[in-house]
């Protein structure tokens, strides 16, 4: 087993996802298959190879420090599931 149900639960929490019990079992098994397949990578010799994080090597892409118009707060909030006055609104963090 590459990944246990408990690990699946931990990862789900990190990703803010919730699964029903039977989904957890199914996911655990599917993720195991996928991760087993990933083990293939261990065959590749990567000693001394720099990890590649960009397809094309660019550097120093900047913008100048100038202010441009922002959105109005109506437009900023126009897609919000819940807004109150000029604010986005969310349920409180229960402590």
């Amino acid at each position: 087993m590459k990944i246990t149900k408990e690990e699946v639960e931990y990862v789900a929490h990190l990703a803010r996802l919730d699964f029903r019990e039977e989904e957890k079992v199914k996911f655990t098994s599917q993720l195991n298959d996928i991760l087993m397949y990933m083990d293939k990578l261990n065959e590749a010799d990567t000693a001394g190879i720099e990890p590649m994080s960009h397809a094309i090597a660019l550097q120093n892409a900047f913008r100048e420090d100038t202010v441009k118009d922002s959105l109005s707060h109506e437009l900023s909030l126009s897609n919000a599931p819940e807004a109150r006055g000029p604010f986005f609104r969310v349920p409180k963090v229960i402590e």
């Binding site: 993720l31 990933m38 590649m52 397809a55 892409a61 409180k92 963090v93």
Partner: protein, 485 residues
């Protein structure tokens, strides 16, 4: 021939000679949509009213002689590019009501060129899929066989072009999402070099792999579309500040003397024999045009899928964290507190495949696993890129099948993620290396399903791809065949 069946360049001739105007074309396309969209379901949102308004504007431009590259041409957009004031869902419930306050750069460029948008096309949710079956808005069918998938993730855009529900369309390609559906729907699809077409306004799946490209009915249209959408964008840090050539200039150059690399690792077990056969035909056709086929090796090919299915989900797990029910989109009801709101919203807002990839990606980046998965995959990715650099010493372009099989049946692979992932086996390396690729029709199976050939070239060598694809297309002469809808 009806207007909706024509290509961009054919319609442009008619527009220039004042034989038709944009309203005529748009009318024809929407008539076609009314007739067959019900059975194909290529679109999530149609922009009919808007299209006719824009067509009227285009007609004024035509009368005034102000004709630009795409003036009056109906173009469909994958529902992954943001359109100001128009619903943009990314195929997901979590964005089922999202109306962007801005246009993607590619949308701005198309507008500037005079294109008329017909609507937003269906896609796998967040572009995660190879069949367009994971869309929250229902499945799209392959116009060549309605019980089959059109490929994915840009299945709607491919099907729309194949079924004449638009003249050309825009898709996005993270691991083959343009080329694979183009092949399965019998149209031309190009994934440009990473950084060539701006990603600004393209809803991110895997930022280091995503690239926008066109679906067209032929290679000439592909060149016309590329001329419009390619170019540096200061709003994207990874956009490449290079001049863009006129791609139409490559159309009739021929390929005499071209060396075409055939990677031995791509002709593996599991390829449909009809595809292998079609590839042999393609090689013969190319040699008939004066090119030579040479065997090459891309030794790290076997790792592509594993690398891809670590890097893409890892980036996706982070890119999709913003869908939290706070600023836009879906929010679950009856939430006890913030944590409950997050979990309920994301669990109900995302479909199974998206959640599966978020889980893989989160796991691959999590404490204790980063080195074994994400870092290792990024290192192997460098080796895959190196394979191609080595290959260019021996050939000008590479030829491979676009897909290992023709379009499969709806529902056939949806419960077997690994099998589904394998349908991208030939297209993924391109995205990992950042190189451009094009899929052009190269034949049909006995059942009448399209087969695609994929050409690959070095960074920023889209011109070479247009050059060989155009020559091959002319030789293959498959354009007369149309889906029977």
């Amino acid at each position: 021939m009806e207007l909706h069946q024509l290509t961009i360049h054919e319609l442009q001739k008619l527009i220039r000679s004042k034989e038709v105007n944009s309203s005529d074309i748009v009318k024809s396309v929407f008539k076609r949509i009314d007739a067959v969209e019900g059975s194909v379901h290529a679109y999530i949102t149609l922009m009919k009213e808007h299209a006719f308004e824009e067509a009227a504007k285009a007609d004024r431009c035509i009368r005034e002689g102000n004709i630009r590259a795409l003036t009056g041409i109906p173009v469909a957009l994958k529902d992954i590019v943001c359109t100001k004031g128009f619903l943009t869902t990314c195929g997901s419930r979590i964005l089922h009501n999202f109306i962007p306050p801005y246009d993607a750069t590619v949308v701005e460029k198309l507008k500037e060129a005079g294109a008329v948008f017909t609507g937003k096309t269906n896609m796998d949710e967040f572009a995660m899929g190879s069949s367009t079956e994971t869309s929250y808005f229902g499945i799209t069918k392959n116009p060549w066989a309605l019980d089959r998938i059109p490929g994915g993730s840009s299945g709607g855009s491919a099907a729309a072009v194949a079924a004449d529900l638009c003249i050309a369309s825009i898709g996005s390609d993270t691991g083959g999402s343009i080329r694979q559906p183009a092949a399965l729907c019998g149209v031309v699809g190009m994934k440009p070099t990473y950084g060539r077409v701006s990603r600004y306004g393209l809803i991110a799946f895997a930022s280091s792999l995503d690239q926008i490209g066109p679906f067209t009915k032929d290679v000439e249209d592909c060149a016309i579309m590329m001329n419009v959408i390619a170019g540096h964008d200061p709003r994207e840090s990874t956009s490449v500040p290079l001049d863009v050539p006129d791609y139409t200039a490559f159309l009739s150059r021929g390929i005499d003397g071209f060396k075409v690399g055939i990677p031995k690792e791509y002709f593996i077990e599991g390829i449909d024999p009809e595809i292998t056969e079609a590839m042999r035909g393609a090689m013969k056709a190319i040699e008939g045009l004066g090119a030579t086929c040479v065997e090459i090796s891309l030794p790290h090919t076997e790792y592509c899928l594993a690398v891809y299915y670590i890097i893409a989900p890892a980036e996706a797990s982070s890119n999709l964290a913003r869908y939290d029910g706070v600023k836009y989109g879906f929010r679950a009801d009856d939430c006890k507190d913030l944590l409950d709101m997050y979990k309920k919203t994301r669990s109900a807002g995302f479909g199974a495949e998206v959640k599966r990839r978020i889980m893989i990606g989160t796991y691959a980046l999590s404490s204790g696993y980063y080195d074994a998965y994400y870092k290792k995959a990024s290192q192997v990715r460098a080796l895959i890129k190196r394979d191609f650099e080595e290959a260019w010493k021996h050939c000008d372009v590479i030829l491979t099948p676009t897909t290992p099989t023709p379009a499969f049946k709806i529902g056939e692979k949806i419960d077997d993620p690994l099998q589904m992932y394998l349908s991208d086996i030939f297209t993924i390396s391109t995205n990992l290396a950042g190189i451009p690729g094009i899929s052009v029709p190269c034949g049909f199976t006995r059942q009448g399903l399209p087969i695609g050939a994929q050409f690959l070239a070095g960074h920023f060598e889209e011109g070479k791809l247009i050059q060989i694809a155009a020559a091959f297309e002319k030789q293959a002469n498959l354009k007369q065949r149309r889906p029977n809808l």
